[in-house]
Symmetry: C2
Subunit: 351 residues, 2 copies
């Protein structure tokens, strides 16, 4: 495929904007010549950053904006009032079809609200979940949802399972992705009301490869390709992953440099140590897409550096090439037809 | 204090029973001469284990039982039908006042159900939460709840906060324990319905030192002494802590022995590495008590070894000496009196 993929980068979003956002965009441009980038933000600031690098100028455009949405702002009010922010303008470029994807490291709430309000959900999708890929000992797993939908209904989780399966098959090349329900025990009857009501629906769904419950303890080991849960517990899981990893790394660094012998030992073991930490470094795995929207919106960590922006931009190309949204649309259409012919009761039977 | 503390150990519960249960009991007896132990289980098997050791025979009693509750059994049915199991007989010894505490590594569900059904809740307590102490970079924090109460109401979480504060002050010696609500953001309005309704109640509660929301990412760092949540998300948090730790440890071991240089380096750094892993090894922190029962019931990990049993038995002494249950009873009594005089609306205002 040689089509161009047009990606908007919110140059002003995140802790290290615009230095790292612009650098990440430039790095991605160099790595894949099909990419073109639109940077939204303060034109002077963004151009000054761009001036630091050599890059293919015909594939970069700066769209000047005058406002920035800050992390602490209430998302709905911010989206409504800051029409000329780098985030809102960027999302609008996807909505109008001028761009294929939007990447931002800005306020999670604003990306979530803005994504649903501006880019809009695919018809038939109840909620648009945020779905990051997490490292595991055996590779990677998609966690869906982890930030968009608190208090979901069981039927929403079934849609998450279907969209997650489409994503992992298309973007990560997993044949017949194993779907598991995050729960507090392995047996079918375990969990709270949401889990007890969701389990039989997943089990009965013919469009996924459901392998039962997965306990949090087993998530880092692997065992599932798509881990389905509500946004609250998904957020707890993901943040705990990051938190334990970062505290252990910190303690290791402190501990290993505490005396000369351990310092020497650490230096010798460094390549091995680095390899392990890289494997569990969540920033290597790109951003978290919001699935089920009419265009691609991807949220990167607030503290993302250039490497994460670059990886996220490259990930957008796979999403585009594999036509993940088209597959979701076609799936929903088939479901609608099946339902009309009275053959099946599925995730989509409840609006 | 020189009073004797009588602790029942379910000798048949857990993956490594009775070898590790009996060894843990013997080790605890040697470490604290105020402890006396009652071992429930198959008398021949338990006596054969005891015969391996030198121990103060006057402080050990074996109560013969003929049944064992297995991990996979449905808890309610198991408690009702296996009246002569090591677990049910052990809990009954606490209920009748023949013992002060019960420790088991057996089925979580059976311990939870049996604790509430046999030992029974203190009058005025809505739900009895399971509350393990977790290691953090700054020391330790109590996670309450993590296994007993799915779908709790906000008022239940306020009681958890109060009981957790009493526990951390009494048993861990934390003056004015900081209570935080586990949530997906720092701001008051964050979270699902349960969190949104619980936050203002915790904020208004005069009997705790509420410090606001805590995100999962910050839990391993410290920052709170009592972390309040529902059992579902608490279980996810705890199991993820254990899961990430164990996978990282495993990968480190593999990685560091992959070649000679890193092997040598690892050997030199070993004392430092060990110190770090010990710090984050959850088995050093004893078992998880069920708070709010009329007697003390403590659940240890299914794969607990002698060290964890010993630590848990020693922890029971502190719980007993500090009269945690008496403090909870007195708190509820004061609340009742205040309510009768019409002065306050508190956690206890909803049955």
């Amino acid at each position: 495929m040689s089509e161009s993929v047009r990606i908007v980068v919110d140059a002003m979003g995140g802790d290290f904007a615009p230095v790292e956002t612009v650098k990440g965009a430039v790095d991605a441009l160099k790595e894949n010549e099909r990419i073109s980038v639109i940077l939204t933000g303060n034109a002077d600031v963004v151009n000054a950053e761009l001036a630091k690098y050599e890059y293919p100028k015909d594939r970069v455009r700066v769209v000047a904006t005058t406002q920035v949405i800050e992390t602490g702002e209430p998302p709905v009010a911010a989206i409504q009032s800051k029409r000329d922010s780098s985030l809102v303008v960027g999302l609008n470029l996807v909505h109008t079809g001028e761009a294929d994807a939007f990447v931002s490291s800005g306020s999670s709430g604003a990306v979530l609200v803005g994504g649903q309000a501006i880019v809009k959900k695919i018809r038939g999708i109840h909620r648009a979940p945020m779905a990051p890929v997490m490292p595991t000992a055996e590779g990677a797993a998609l966690l869906i949802d982890c930030g968009a939908n608190v208090d979901p209904r069981p039927q929403h989780l079934v849609q998450f399972a279907i969209m997650g399966s489409i994503y992992m098959k298309s973007v990560n090349g997993v044949e017949n992705p194993r779907v598991a329900l995050l729960n507090i025990g392995a047996e079918e009857e375990k969990g709270d009301t949401l889990r007890k009501e969701t389990y039989p629906l997943l089990k009965a769904c013919p469009d996924i490869h459901f392998v039962g419950n997965i306990e949090a303890r087993d998530v880092p080991k692997g065992g599932a390709d798509v881990i389905v849960t509500d946004a609250f517990s998904g957020n707890i899981l993901l943040k705990m992953y990051e938190g334990v990893g970062s505290v252990m790394l910190h303690e290791l660094k402190d501990g290993l440099t505490a005396n000369l012998v351990s310092k020497l030992g650490a230096a010798m073991a460094l390549p091995s140590l680095k390899k392990i930490f890289r494997k569990f470094d969540i920033t290597n795995y790109g951003g978290a897409p919001l699935l089920g929207l009419k265009g691609l919106v991807v949220k990167t960590h607030g503290n993302a550096k250039a490497k994460e922006f670059k990886n996220t931009i490259l990930q957008c190309v796979a999403f585009y090439d594999e036509d993940v949204n088209g597959k979701i649309v076609r799936y929903l259409e088939e479901e609608r037809l099946k339902k009309e012919s009275g053959n099946t009761v599925t995730a989509d039977s409840e609006a």
